[in-house]
Structures are given as C-alpha cells and as structure tokens.
Symmetry: C2
C-alpha cells in the first residue's frame, strides 16, 4: 500500500510522476539527458550503471525497469544485466565499465567513499572526465529515484512482461514522455 493516495494502477515511479507532474518534468529530463542522449558511454552501459545502483539499493521497480532497458539496448540478451546485478567484477564487460561501476557503487553508499585511486583506475582504462562525471551523477540520481519509489511505498509489481515492454519503450523513446500512460490492468486485480 502506498503511503499517500497515489493514482491507482501506476507502478513504481510512474505513480509519483502522475501524482506530481511539476516535479516529474525535471526528473524525467535529467534521466533523459543522463541515459538517453548521445554520449561516449553507450546507452546500454549507462542503463547498466543505473541497474547496478538500483539493485544495490534493492529497489525492485528501478532495477527491473532499467535492467529491461539495458536488455533492450543489448538486443534482448539479459546475460550482462544479471552479471552486473550480482558480481560486476566477473561480468563480460569492458575494464572501463568495471571501473565506472566501482565508482557508481561507492557513490550509491556515500560520495565521500570515492578515492583518487578509483578515479585514476577509470582513467587508466580510458574513461574521460565527462564519463566519470556522468557516472557519479547517474549513481547520485538513482539514489534519488530509488528513495522516491521506496519512500512513497509505491506498487512494485512482479510482471516480467510489463518490465520488458517498459524497457523497450525506454530504450527507444527515452525518458521525456511517460512510459506508463494508463493504469496497468494487473493493478486492479492485485
């Protein structure tokens, strides 16, 4: 049960976004720039960072929806998503992305945990300043999105088909427009 009267049938963050469109707009815009706009980090890499942070915070809705977006960017293969959620150090990803995921995992806990050595390690693997900046900000932003979703007590369903559709939509269209426009059928039954 959500802690406040949120519009029924909207899962996760879409309930908060529908309830308060004024704050939804800049939050969507920030996600769109960080995850969808052209960047030297591939969209799949940025979605994997978002997924890693959300899984670390144990926020099911965000971990599943961004995991699904990463999967969609990767042509439907969810191997890397599973690896990045459990142990990214042994995942089949670039050393650069591993170094960035290390930074993101520290920011998730406390930004002060990031050391010069962490940043140097990312630079040695070819990370640019902008990529390091965006990694820090993606991890910081998901520290917000995760807390928003959990702190409102939103409905976070187990519906793999819904997440797959949402992930496809997010991968194709990005974050400016709602990915959930109408109440999800299942909500009424659940």
């Amino acid at each position: 049960m959500p802690h406040i009267e949120l519009p029924e049938g909207y899962p996760g963050i879409s309930a908060g976004f529908t309830y308060r469109p004024e704050t939804a707009k800049p939050m969507r815009e920030l996600a769109h720039i960080l995850l969808h706009e052209p960047n030297s980090l591939a969209p799949a890499e940025r979605e994997l960072i978002a997924t890693h942070v959300s899984a670390g915070n144990n926020t099911k809705f965000c971990a599943l929806s961004h995991g699904a977006a990463a999967t969609a960017h990767l042509g439907g293969d969810d191997t890397l998503v599973k690896q990045v959620k459990t142990d990214f150090t042994s995942a089949e990803i670039s050393p650069k992305l591993k170094a960035l995921l290390n930074i993101a995992g520290k920011v998730r806990q406390d930004g002060k945990l990031v050391t010069s050595a962490d940043v140097e390690a990312a630079r040695r693997e070819g990370a640019t300043d902008l990529e390091i900046h965006d990694t820090v900000l993606i991890a910081a932003a998901f520290s917000m999105f995760n807390r928003y979703v959990d702190g409102l007590g939103t409905w976070q369903p187990d519906n793999s088909e819904m997440y797959a559709q949402m992930g496809k939509h997010l991968a194709e269209e990005g974050y400016r427009a709602p990915s959930v426009k109408h109440p999800v059928e299942e909500a009424v039954a659940s």
Copy 2:
C-alpha cells in the same frame, strides 16, 4: 582536490553545474519547485528538511548553504537551523515538521524504512498527502545533490560570509539561476 577538472573557484555543486550545464538545468528546476515555489510548507520548513538531510549525510556545502537559506527565511536567526542539525526532536518547531523530519531522515537512509506509522503520525499533526510527498522527494533529491557534491570531490570551503550571501540569494531568488556566477576569490588563495 576535485576528482575531475572542474572550473576553478566554484564551491560545491556550483562546480558541477558550471561543468555540465545540460544536467544543471533540470537539477536546478527540481530544487526550485521543491524549495522555492509556493507550497503549504513554508520555504524555511523545506530548507530545514534539506539541511537536516544534508547534515545527516555530512555534506558540508549543502548543509551550510541550505542552513543559510533557512536562516535567511527566518530573518537571520540560526537557532532552529542549529537545533535541526543536531537534535530536531527537541527543536522549537511544530510537531508536524518534526514528524516530517522523521520521515525525511528515514528516506535519507533508505526509503523502505518509512512505515505507515511514520506517515500516520505526520497526518495526525496535520500533514497533507502533498506535504508528505514533497518531504519524501526533498529527502530523495538531497540524497542526490549530496552524493553529486561529494562524489565529484568538489571544493567545500569554510567561509561563513560566502554561505550567508548564498543563503540570502537562494531565499530571495530561488534555484533557477546560479547563486555563484563567478569564481569565488578565496579559491585562488586556498
């Protein structure tokens, strides 16, 4: 030393905002709506929530600048700011604000810690759904801002005059336009 090459002489978040104006815009807009636009929670109350979260996360720049904004809203008296930073339960604030600070403090740690009893307690003191929503989102947003400031290793000076000026500017003008437009003199010396 910042972890990446940030523009010199910009303290705290203003360095990140100057470095990456694209992401600064929606982040400023979100802060403006949450802290400055008309709301049934007074601007001073919302700044106290932001200060409490930032102090809990030990992010000096945010705690001092939003503490200064709250002080400016309160006519220059920083008594409440000091109380809210140390022990809000004995602060001279309304029972409603205490109940909201309790929720904010839990969201800061993990949104899942917020219970129905916490929300009911706030409602009993007169908090509306929108006030509870905005409290959750202010706490979530400062979980982002704090991590962004700390995760980049930004310069967080001890300069009470600078924070007082910044707080006055934020209280009067809000968050859409930069409160630090030029490098701060002290930076060159420090």
